[in-house]
C-alpha cells in the first residue's frame, strides 16, 4: 500500500469500539423447521449464537405411563403416534420385544411383510426429509417431487394396512390376520392384496427415478451446496458420545446400522449396503438419507421377489398375557435407534415400558453443534438432523 492511500484511510477509520450487549433470542416453539414444537433459547452475539438451550416437552403425551394401563393390542395403536412420519417402523421393536418374552416364532411370510412395510415407512420418512430440508433452506421445488412419490408409497401402505400414517398392522405373533373375529369378517384375510407386488415394483422404480431427479435438482445446486457443505460438522467421537444414531451418525463416518447388527427382521437375506458419509456435515446427512432411500427400494424389490407363502400368524392365545420378565429390543427406525425396554409382571399390559427414541438422543447434540454458529445456519443444521418432536417428547 502506498503512503498516500494510507493517509486517506486514517481519516475515515472509526476509532470508537462499538459495544453490543448479548441478546437472548427465542427460536420457536412454533417454527416450521422444528417439525413440531421445539424452543431454542440462544444467546446472540452479533450474527452468532452461543449457549443454545433446547426446551422440550411441549408435545409430551405420557406414552410410557399410558402404556402401563393399556393392554398390548391397545399399545400397538398408541405407539404409531410416537414418530408419526414413520408410524409402521415404531411398532416393530415393541412387538418383537413382546414376542421375545412370549417365545413366539413368527412365520416367515409375516416377517417379510413386516420388512417390506418397514422399508416403505423408511422411504416415506426420508422423502419427507428430502421435501422439507431444501424447503427450510429456501428451495420449494423438491418438495413437490418428493411428496408425489411419497404419496405413491403411502398408497401401497394403505392398501395393505388400511392406514396411511397409523397402520396398526402388527400383532403379537405376526401381522394382522383378519379384519375381525366375526364369521364373515374372519374371511377377510389381511394378506397382501392382489396386484401388490407389481404395484410395489412399479412404485420402487418411480422412487429410484425421483432420487435421480432430486439429485439433479438439489445436489448440484450451488446455493444448496454453499448452505450445507462444511456446516454443522459432527465428528464421529462426539456423535457417539451423545448417543446420536441412525443416518446422522452414519453421515459422520461411523458404519453403524442396527439392521446389520441385530436380527429382528431377516435383513441378512438381502444384498444391501450401509451408506456412510465422510465429513459429518449437513451435506453428508442429506446424501446419506438419499442413498438410504435407494438401498431401501432395492431391499423391497428383493423382498418382493423372494417372499415365501405361508401363514400370517403364529399360534397365540386369544387373551394376550406376556410372561414375567424383562427385555430390551432395538431396531433401526428411519430416525435412528429405537428401542423398547419392556418389563412384564405377567399381566395383559406391561408393568413398565421405557421407550428409547432416536430423535431425543439426536437433538441432545444441539447445544454442542450450534455453539458459535451463524443464525441462518441454525435452521440448516436443525433441519439436517431430521427429528420429529413427537419422537422427542413421546
Amino acid at each position: 500500500m502506498d503512503q498516500d492511500f494510507a493517509h486517506h484511510l486514517s481519516e475515515v477509520a472509526v476509532s470508537v469500539e462499538l459495544e453490543t450487549p448479548d441478546m437472548t433470542l427465542n427460536i420457536g416453539p412454533q417454527h416450521p423447521s422444528t417439525h413440531g414444537v421445539l424452543r431454542l433459547i440462544a444467546k446472540i452475539a452479533g450474527e452468532r449464537a452461543f449457549d443454545v438451550k433446547p426446551v422440550i416437552g411441549y408435545m409430551h403425551r405420557g406414552y410410557e405411563k399410558l402404556s402401563e394401563v393399556r393392554t398390548y393390542p391397545q399399545i400397538t395403536a398408541l405407539i404409531n403416534r410416537i414418530d408419526w412420519v414413520s408410524g409402521y417402523a415404531n411398532e416393530i421393536p415393541f412387538i418383537v420385544a413382546a414376542e421375545k418374552l412370549m417365545e413366539i416364532e413368527v412365520p416367515e411370510r409375516a416377517q417379510y411383510i413386516r420388512l417390506i412395510l418397514t422399508e416403505m415407512a423408511r422411504i416415506s420418512s426420508h422423502l419427507i426429509f428430502m421435501a422439507s430440508y431444501p424447503l427450510e433452506l429456501g428451495a420449494a421445488t423438491p418438495l413437490f417431487f418428493a411428496l408425489r412419490e411419497r404419496e405413491r408409497v403411502l398408497d401401497l401402505l394403505e392398501s395393505v394396512t388400511g392406514g396411511r400414517f397409523h397402520p396398526n398392522f402388527n400383532r403379537i405373533g405376526g401381522v394382522k390376520p383378519a379384519v375381525g373375529s366375526g364369521s364373515t369378517t374372519r374371511k377377510q384375510i389381511q394378506d397382501l392384496p392382489a396386484g401388490f407386488f407389481t404395484q410395489t415394483k412399479d412404485a420402487m422404480g418411480k422412487v429410484l427415478d425421483v432420487c435421480e431427479e432430486l439429485e439433479t435438482l438439489v445436489a448440484g445446486n450451488e446455493i444448496f451446496l454453499a448452505r450445507t457443505k462444511g456446516i454443522g460438522l459432527l465428528p464421529p467421537e462426539v456423535a457417539a458420545a451423545y448417543g446420536v444414531s441412525g443416518p446422522n451418525i452414519r453421515a459422520s463416518g461411523v458404519k453403524f446400522d442396527i439392521r446389520k447388527v441385530e436380527s429382528y427382521l431377516p435383513y441378512d437375506q438381502f444384498d444391501w449396503e450401509v451408506p456412510v458419509g465422510e465429513n459429518g456435515d449437513c451435506w453428508d446427512r442429506w446424501w446419506v438419507r438419499l442413498t438410504e432411500i435407494r438401498q431401501s427400494a432395492s431391499i423391497i424389490q428383493q423382498a418382493v421377489d423372494g417372499i415365501p407363502s405361508g401363514p400370517l400368524q403364529a399360534k397365540v392365545p386369544k387373551v394376550i398375557k406376556v410372561p414375567e420378565g424383562q427385555t430390551y429390543v432395538r431396531a433401526e427406525n428411519p430416525k435412528g435407534e429405537m428401542g423398547y425396554y419392556l418389563v412384564s409382571d405377567g399381566g395383559s399390559g406391561p408393568y413398565r415400558l421405557k421407550i428409547r427414541t432416536a430423535s431425543f438422543s439426536n437433538i441432545s447434540i444441539l447445544p454442542w453443534i450450534l455453539e458459535g454458529i451463524l443464525i441462518p445456519d441454525i435452521i440448516a443444521v436443525m433441519g439436517s438432523l431430521d427429528f420429529v418432536l413427537g419422537d422427542v417428547d413421546r
Partner: protein
C-alpha cells in the same frame, strides 16, 4: 463416496440442470394425459380409496347383541352403548319365550376415535365394519358424535372383499 460440488463444472450449471428438471416436469404436466397427473381436482373429481382404508366404522344394528366388547376394548372409550332386553314371541306355539338384547344407543365419538380398529377386530358377531367413506366432517366438535342410524347408513358403503396376492 459422497458426490456433490465438482469444481470442474461451470458455476451455476447445477442450478441450470435443476431448472431443466422443473421445466420438463411443467411441460409433462401440461401435455400428458390427465391420468398421469399426481393430483385430482378434489370436490369435482373424487379419488376412490383402497377397499381396506379405515375411513369410518359402520354398524349393522341387527347383528349387534349389546355385548359391550367393543366399548370395553376401545383405548379411548369413545363408544357409548345402551341396550335393554326384549322378549320375543316363541317361533312356534308352546315354545320358549326368547330374550333378545336390543340396542337403544350406539354412538361413536369420532372426535375421540383414533381409528385403531380394535372394536372391529374384537366384535364376535359381525356388527362392525370398516368402510373407506371419508366425507363426514362437521363444523362443530360436538357434532362428530354419530348415532347408530348414521352408522347404519354407512353399511351401504362397505366394499367387497378384495382378492389376495398368492
Amino acid at each position: 463416496m459422497a458426490k456433490g460440488n465438482d469444481s470442474r463444472t461451470l458455476l451455476g450449471m447445477g442450478m441450470v440442470k435443476g431448472l431443466a428438471v422443473t421445466i420438463t416436469t411443467m411441460f409433462k404436466t401440461i401435455f400428458l394425459p390427465k391420468k398421469h397427473l399426481a393430483t385430482v381436482n378434489y370436490p369435482k373429481v373424487k379419488e376412490t380409496p383402497v377397499p381396506r382404508a379405515r375411513g369410518v366404522i359402520a354398524l349393522d344394528q341387527d347383528a349387534c347383541t349389546v355385548c359391550m366388547l367393543c366399548a370395553r376394548q376401545c383405548p379411548d372409550w369413545c363408544i357409548y352403548i345402551e341396550g335393554h332386553k326384549e322378549e320375543q314371541p316363541p317361533s312356534k306355539p308352546g315354545g320358549r319365550i326368547k330374550v333378545r338384547a336390543t340396542l337403544d344407543r350406539f354412538d361413536i365419538d369420532y372426535a375421540l376415535c383414533m381409528y385403531c380398529g380394535i372394536c372391529v377386530e374384537v366384535c364376535p358377531f359381525d356388527a362392525l365394519f370398516w368402510t373407506p367413506e371419508y366425507e363426514y366432517s362437521e363444523t362443530q366438535m360436538g357434532e362428530m358424535l354419530h348415532d347408530m342410524d348414521r352408522l347404519q347408513d354407512w353399511m351401504k358403503t362397505v366394499p367387497e372383499v378384495p382378492a389376495l396376492e398368492p
